[in-house]
């Protein structure tokens, strides 16, 4: 039986790990290479590395960091942030990433998903989706790190992403992100039941029970968290022991 995966996410800017609340107020959270090694030793099932650097030096800094992290990691490693071309992906895989995640660029030109799947295989294409519930109750997709609203609706967009060759969906609820009140389990369950590819829950983890609910209620295949792990409030070991005690299949 496949296990429920626990995935620490490193938001990286200018070579440092940062963490914000509701996509804003970024605070320093440590050296990404050190954190990556710590998570590996604590039993992380995968690692996601999200680059939010906005400078011209971005690409070079990112490739250098990816290489340093990949050399140390004996678990799968996903890199995202600002990826918009086949060449970007080729360079990241060459530097040692196992998968890449695309977000804004895929919303702007969905054929990017098909191109990446064709070139590198679906197994390495993660489509990240940031969405927020509107006052009318619909889930609206946002791009540019949650800054730009789009006219896309969450459930039809993830279906299109799967049809175009996405290998996984990483769904972040902007309403839940950084609040530590739990994942958006209703929306997660709907995505998971609609799609036949794995779904990663993101945004809102604050305590072990939130992970249990992402599995039980959200029917997620994996759960991602950042701040909770960075500030050592919860270790991955402790979390997995808790999940095992509640009969969630985990790798220990």
């Amino acid at each position: 039986m496949l296990t429920f995966r626990i995935i620490p996410c490193l938001d990286v800017r200018d070579g440092r790990t940062v963490k914000g609340v509701n996509f804003l107020n970024l605070a320093d959270a440590g050296d990404p290479v050190e954190l990556a090694a710590t998570y590996r030793d604590e039993g992380a099932d995968e690692l996601v590395f999200l680059d939010i650097t906005a400078t011209h030096e971005r690409r070079k800094t990112l490739l250098f960091l990816v290489k340093k992290v990949a050399e140390k990691l004996n678990i799968p490693f996903t890199v995202g942030g600002g990826i918009s071309t086949v060449e970007d992906v080729g360079a990241l895989l060459q530097a040692g990433a196992d998968k890449i995640s695309v977000n804004s660029a895929a919303v702007c030109s969905p054929e990017l998903i098909s191109e990446l799947a064709w070139h590198f295989g679906s197994q390495c294409v993660v489509v990240a989706v940031d969405a927020k519930k509107t006052s009318g109750g619909a889930w609206q997709v946002f791009t540019a790190g949650g800054r730009t609203p789009t006219d896309r609706e969450l459930f039809s967009w993830v279906r299109e992403a799967e049809e175009r060759g996405a290998g996984e969906i990483l769904f972040t609820s902007m309403d839940h992100d950084g609040t530590r009140k739990g994942y958006a389990n209703e929306a997660l369950a709907r995505i998971s039941e609609t799609l036949n590819i794995p779904v990663i829950a993101s945004g809102g983890a604050g305590k072990p029970e939130d992970f249990y609910n992402a599995w039980k209620k959200g029917k997620a295949d994996a759960a991602l968290a950042a701040g909770l792990f960075h500030y050592k409030e919860l270790s991955i070991n402790t979390l997995k022991e808790y999940l095992r005690s509640r009969n969630v299949p985990v790798r220990i």
Binding site: L2, T3, N74, I75, P76, L93, A95, F120, P198, D221
Partner: protein, 200 residues
């Protein structure tokens, strides 16, 4: 120092395999050159992606006949395992036939796959320890898988995994070895498999 050749045929995450060997302080070359591959002490044949286009690339460089003729230990990984089999239904592709097994898609077994996602992606256990690769590795150790096609169980199967159905996750025949999972991405248990291979 023994030299390990990692076969370069433009298929996927070879970099991860090279880093894994680097962590084990193994001298590795990443090459498509038949002579370098023939001369290496050990050969790793990695790969992710599409079987049809991967097999075409192997044919273009003549590696489809070089690999089955190798005498030293050879380790196929993921797509590597599938291409070492007789045939895969992925684009109706004939493999190298080292293992006399067929490879088919999980979706072709729809009634057994109900409620299970395809591809089989994530950490799963391997059953069986008859062969060399899993020697000394505790039962129920987890390995990382990412694949939509699987090799049927055959006489060459030395490890199986259950995902709706039982498939070959480890195969061994003479000097040929293969894993459906990614040892280079399977934490400590994956490293133990690589060490077992390197110690052959």
């Amino acid at each position: 120092m023994a030299i390990v050749a990692v076969v370069d045929y433009g298929a996927g995450n070879s970099r991860s395999v090279l880093y894994a060997l680097q962590r084990l302080s193994v001298d590795a070359v990443f090459t498509a050159d038949p002579d370098t591959i023939r001369r290496a002490d050990k050969v790793i044949f990695p790969g992710v992606g599409n079987a049809g286009s991967a097999m075409k690339k192997l044919k273009n460089t003549g590696l489809d006949t070089v690999i089955p003729g190798l005498q030293q230990p050879v380790l196929g990984v993921c797509l590597g395992l599938q291409l070492m089999c007789r045939h895969t239904t992925e684009e109706d592709t004939r493999g190298m036939g080292i293992f006399d097994s067929g490879v088919t898609h999980f979706a072709s077994q729809a009634e057994r796959m109900s409620g299970l996602k395809i591809p089989h992606m994530g950490w799963n256990v391997v059953d069986g320890n008859k062969g060399h690769l899993l020697s000394g590795i505790p039962e129920n150790s987890y390995f990382y898988f990412v694949h939509g096609y699987f090799a049927e169980v055959s006489r060459w199967t030395t490890g199986t995994t259950d995902y709706g159905l039982i498939f070959s996750s480890v195969m061994e025949k003479d000097n040929f070895f293969a894993t459906q999972f990614h040892p280079e991405k399977s934490g400590d248990s994956g490293e133990a498999v690589l060490k077992n291979f390197l110690a052959l």
